[in-house]
Symmetry: C2
Subunit: 248 residues, 2 copies
């Protein structure tokens, strides 16, 4: 763990264990999303605006959007690192970026994340600019990937029905962010991942859902290299994603 | 990361992130199992008998059985540590134990694990005693929980059908150990976990299975505090588990 540039950039090194890998013996997207949330949490802790501080006022950080772009994924037995910094914030949202680097420190990918702060009791939005240390924590480091697009006009070509259960639920009693990602990735066959990897992934979380909810996972693969997905509870959209595949 | 007693006991400290917690804001059993596999892997690496060394000869460690006993689980925002050591080994199996400790280093639980080494191509068992450093690595540290019982006479009282998909598959293209644990835990309602925690958990892995396999998850809750579970593919048992619950 290290922090530099007056704690504006926060980094951590990890080791990719065999037991964590996907069927291509690489870092799965859900683990990368997990690491992104992990390093964001640890950086916020180190700035004094983390989980423990906010929960004293019944507040909590909520991940609203995430865009990930990878040239390649870490392989089994490789060390890799994540570095994170805050790009900007306003009353409603904070933009936090992440660089993923290989063993030698060369960037292999980037992520852009958008966070809000909510009152956990009222489920209402709180003013981020009121968090003292935010303004002093902006970093000028560049994030060379595009901002997230608006995911719209999804054709409902394929449907999979899934019911969220105990192991899908997080500490707020909602469906865990990572499990949304898993059920979307499960719309593609194993063979497709053998010949392609996810070059860019975007996800927008729209509404929280609960245990025992049966959802529809919709896939629009009319362009097989640029797919869109949506999870709905009846007519209510819960999240939308876009998956741009790169041939291996 | 630290090793002592001539590298016979290997320890690592962790922080329980909010995003990793279950609905009771504690460490989920599947994350504990993940950490147990992680520390076993790292210790084996440090002894020169880890994944990379074995894979050069097409060999791999396989977890065969695991018994976990917890007085309590780490809570959100808590630091905790795992320490592991080898208790014994013979040609076929290695007994590796784990102590789980709280922030102050006080033990809050233990695990006993049984590992074998297989030839990844032939899927046959290899001679563990041929691994050079094993004999020098036995620790006398005590593990005060009972060895695993033989899980038998399971009454098939409740059934849940589940089909394993892409995100359930590991780097050997089999169903991931942790996903077996999740589907078994999903047999109990959320409310039950609010009033009980898993005081002791035992699992025996019997046969590997593959993507798109539809399995039956059977629950025997004739004693609601001492349940048994079995996952079967048709008539073939894949794994068996026992869950002893403690009232909160």
């Amino acid at each position: 763990m290290e922090a530099n540039d007056n704690n504006k950039i926060f980094s951590r090194r990890f080791y990719l264990l065999p037991g964590e890998c996907n069927s291509e013996q690489e870092m799965p997207l859900w683990l990368l999303a997990n690491r992104i949330i992990e390093i964001a949490t640890l950086h916020a802790n180190s700035l004094g605006i983390g989980y423990k501080r906010l929960s004293r006022d019944n507040r909590a950080w909520v991940l609203s959007r995430m865009a990930i772009e990878m040239k390649r994924y870490p392989k089994v037995g490789e060390y890799y690192s994540l570095s994170t910094w805050i790009e900007s914030f306003n009353r409603h949202f904070s933009e936090r970026n992440i660089e993923i680097a290989d063993e030698q420190g060369n960037p292999i990918g980037y992520a852009r994340t958008i966070w809000s702060v909510i009152d956990s009791t009222e489920r209402t939005s709180c003013d981020i600019s009121a968090l003292g240390t935010m303004a002093d924590s902006i970093s000028e480091k560049e994030c060379p990937i595009e901002r997230q697009s608006r995911i719209k006009d999804i054709k409902r070509l394929k449907e999979y029905r899934y019911t969220f259960r105990y192991s899908d639920i997080d500490f707020n009693r909602h469906v865990n962010t990572l499990r949304y990602i898993c059920v979307i990735l499960n719309m593609f066959p194993l063979e497709f991942y053998d010949s392609h990897f996810i070059g860019r992934f975007e996800i927008t979380f729209m509404k929280e859902t609960y245990i025992d909810t049966e959802v529809s996972v919709w896939l629009d693969d009319s362009d097989p290299k640029d797919c869109k997905a949506e999870i709905t509870d009846g007519t209510t959209p819960l999240c939308r994603a876009r998956l741009i595949f790169t041939t291996r």
